[in-house]
Amino acid sequence: MATAAPAATTELLGTAVRAQSNLWADAWRRLRRNRLALAGSLYLLLVVAVALIAVVWTPYRMSAVGLVAPYEGPSLAHPLGGDTLGRDVLSRLMVGAQISLVVGVGTQLLVLLLGVPIGLAAGYFRGWFDGAVSFLINVFYGIPDLLIALIMVFLLGPSLTNIIIAIVATRWMDMTRLVRGQALSLREREFVEAARAGGAKPAKILFRHILPNALGPIIVQATFGIPAAILFEAFLSFLGVGIQEPTPSWGSMAAQGIVAIRISPHIVLAPAIALSLTLMAFNFMGDGLRDALDPRQKR
C-alpha cells in the first residue's frame, strides 16, 4: 500500500534538489574562472581529438618499420623523427594517446562501477559488510601496487584489457573508501532521515539521495584517478610488462627511447612530454573541479 509523503518531507526533498542545482551552477561558474583548469581541459580536448583522429588516420602506419633511418631526428616529413626501428614517432604518439585515454578513462569507469556501489552499501548499511569491505581495503593498501599489478599481468597476460583490470585492482580502494565515508556522513543527514521516514527503500535512498550529494568528491577523485592510471600503465609498459608490440604506449615508447637518449633524445622526449602534459592537464582539471565543487577546501 502506497503512502503519500508528508508535506514537510516533500518540502525538505525539494530544498535538497534546489540546493543541488545551485551547487552545479555555482561550480560551473567557479570552474570557468580557473584559468589553469580551463587550459588543462582544452589540452585534454586536444588529446581526445588526436586520439579520435588516430582511429582513422595517422601520418604513417604506426607499426611500419624502416620509414626513416633508425634514430633519425625530426624533419618535415617526420616532425617528431623516427624511433629505434625507423618508425614514425608522431604516428605512434597519436596511437599512444588512444591507449592512455582508454586506460585512464576505462580504469576509472571500472573503479566507479566497483567502488561506488560497494562504498555506498558499506557506509549505509554498516555492520558486517562494512567490516569486511574495510578489512579488504586495508589488505589491498598493505600490498604494494606494483606487486599486485605484476602478479595480475603475469596471470592474465599483458593485453590492454588485462592491464586495465590490473590497474583497477590497485585503485578501487581509494574510490570505495571515499564513497563509504560520504555515505557514512550523509546517511545521518536530515533529507536522508526524511526519505527513510517517507518509506523510501534503501536502494532509492542510496542512488537518489546519497549518491547525488556525494557526486562532487567522486568526480574529483575520478579526475585525479585518470592520470594516476595513465602513469601506472606507462610505468608497467616502461618495465616491459604493459602494452605489447607493435601497439605503442607512451610508457613503452619512452622505454624504447631511453636506450638512445644520448644520441636521439627525441625518441624518449616526445612520449615523456606528452605524458607529462597530459598528467598535468588532468591534475589542473582535478584541482579546478575540487575548488569548484567544494570551495571550502580552497580556503
Binding site: 607499426s63 611500419a64 634514430y71 629505434t84 608490440e245 607493435p246 631511453i258 636506450v259 644520441i263
Partner: protein, 575 residues
Amino acid sequence: MKALGVFSMASLVLMACGGPSGTSTNLASNQTLKFPILDDIHTLDPGTIDAETDSEISQNLFTGLLKFDNDLKVVPDIAKELPTISSDGKSYTFKLRQDATFSNGDKVTSKDVLYSWNRAAALQQSSYDTTTFQTIVGFDRVSNNKVGGAALEALLEKKDPAVTMEGLTAPDDYTVKAQLTAPGTWWPSALSVVGAAGMLVDQNVVKTDFDNWWSKPETAVGTGPYKLTARTAKASMDFQAVDNWWGSPKPTIKQVHVDVISDSATAVTKYEQGGYDLFGFGGYSSGASLADVKRIQATANEKSQLHIQPRARTMWVTFNLVADSVRPAKGPFTLADGQPAHDLRLAFALAVDKKKLVDIVCQNIICSTMTGGIIAKSMPGYLGDNADPLAKFDPAKAKQLLQSADPTGAKTKGLTYWYDPEQPIYRDSAPILQDQWQTNLGVHVDLQKQSHSAFIKSRLSGSYVITRDGWLIDYPHPQDYYDGLYGKNAGCPDANCTSGYDNKAFDELAAKANALPLDQALPEYKKMGQMLIDDVAYIPLVNFQGVYLIKPYVKGAGANPSFEYFWNQYQILQH
C-alpha cells in the same frame, strides 16, 4: 693425430696486444679486473652448464684434458699431449700431466677424469653432456640414468654400471682410454669446449654437496687458474688467482670482480665512468645496444676502445615441424602436412626482407645478413655467401605461395612468434618480422616475449609454432651445429629439439659425416645443410658481431668467434 688439427683459423686477435708472457715493467700495482656480466650465473658446475655467461666464467675455474687456444686450435691442457688415436679411429688414449692439481691441492689423476665424465653423462642436465660423451661406448645406458643428487653420487662412488661408461677406462693413474662407438673426428673439439662438460671436477668436494658445491667458495674447486672467493646471488662475484697454479701462462691478474648488471646501457655508462675495465664479456658480447655503439663510434676518445668482431653466432626463425603427443606445439608448418605446409614455410621465409631487418636492427654494425646456411660465416661447413635461397626476399612469390597454401587464411590465423628480449637483436627483430609478415603476406602474427631461461626450456620442448632460434658455436665443426640442433643425435624429434626436425636420410648423412675426417666430411655436411634448406626448416636472419669495450690499459683481453680469452692471459698496465 692428423684429425686433431681440426681447424686452424686465421688469428682473430684483433684486440689482444699479446699475452702476459713478457716481463712487463709497467704493470699496475693493483691487478684487479672489474667488469659487468649480463646475468647471474645459474651454475658453475661443468656437468650442468648450458648458458653463455656461466661457461664464460666457469672456463677460468675449470680445465679439461684438452682446450682451444685463441685461434680455436685444439691443444693439450691437463693432457701431456694430444691423444693417440687407434688406426680404426675409435680408441683414444690420453696421457695426463702429473703436476696438475685442483685449487685445494688435490692431485688430478685419471680417476678424476672418469668421475667427471661419467657424472656429466649421467646428469644429463646440459646439452653438452650429450654432445660431448654420446660417442663413448656405454653412454646410451648411462644417459638413461634418472637419479640425481646424493643417490647419483652413491652410484658413482661404487662405480655402479648404471652410471659408468664401459668405454672409459684408466689403465693407470695418469692414463685415460676412451673407446668410441664410431670414429669421431670431431670428438677432441667437443672435449675442448670451454667451461663445459669435458672439464674436471673434484669428487672430494662434489660429494659434500652434489648439486650446490660450486656455489660456495670453500667447495668451488677446479683445476683452473682462478677460484671463487665470494658470491652474492644476483649481485656480484669475486675471484682470486690460484697460488702456484700448475698451468700457463701464470695469472697476472690477481683479483677479478664481476657485477651482475642486466641493463646494458647502465653497464656501458659505468664502464665509461671508469667503474669497469671491460664491457662485452660474460654474456654481453651481443648485449650492447646499437645506440651505444653508434655513440661511442662518434667519440674521439672511446672509439679506439671499441672492438667489433665477427662471432660464430647466427640467429634464425624456427618452425615447429613435428606434431606428436610429446611436443605441445602443433601449428600449420609441420612436415607431415606435406607440400602446403612446405609452401607456407617458404612463404613466411620469402616474405622477410632480411637486408632491411639488418639495416634497421644492426645498421651492419652489430650484425650482418645470414646468407650461407645455418652455419656461421667463416666456419667449416658454411655453404657460401648467397648460397641459401631462404635468405632471399621475394614478396610476390611469398604472397602467391600463401594464397595456394592457405587460401582462406584459417591456417595462419592466431599465430604467435615467441622470443626472448634480453639481447637487443632478438628484441628489435621481433616487431620487424611482425611488420614484414603483415605487410608482405597480410598475416598478423602476435608477439610474445619470455625471459631467456624459460624461453629456452619451452623452446627445446617443442612448445612454439614459430620462434626465435640461434646458435653460438662450441667448436668449429659442422657436427656441432647439426648434432646440436637437428636429427636423432640432437634428440629430435622429442627431446631438446626446437624444430623436431629428424628423418632417416638426415641421420644417415650425420653418421657418415661424423665418422670422416673434416675435409672429407664437408660435402656430406653440406648435403645436410641443403636438406634443411629444401625442407624450409628455418628462416635465416643474421650473423652476429661481438661488441667489446676494453680500456687501453688492459692487455691481452679479447675473444675469438667462439669464446672469450682466459683471464690468465690478461694484464693491467699502469694508467
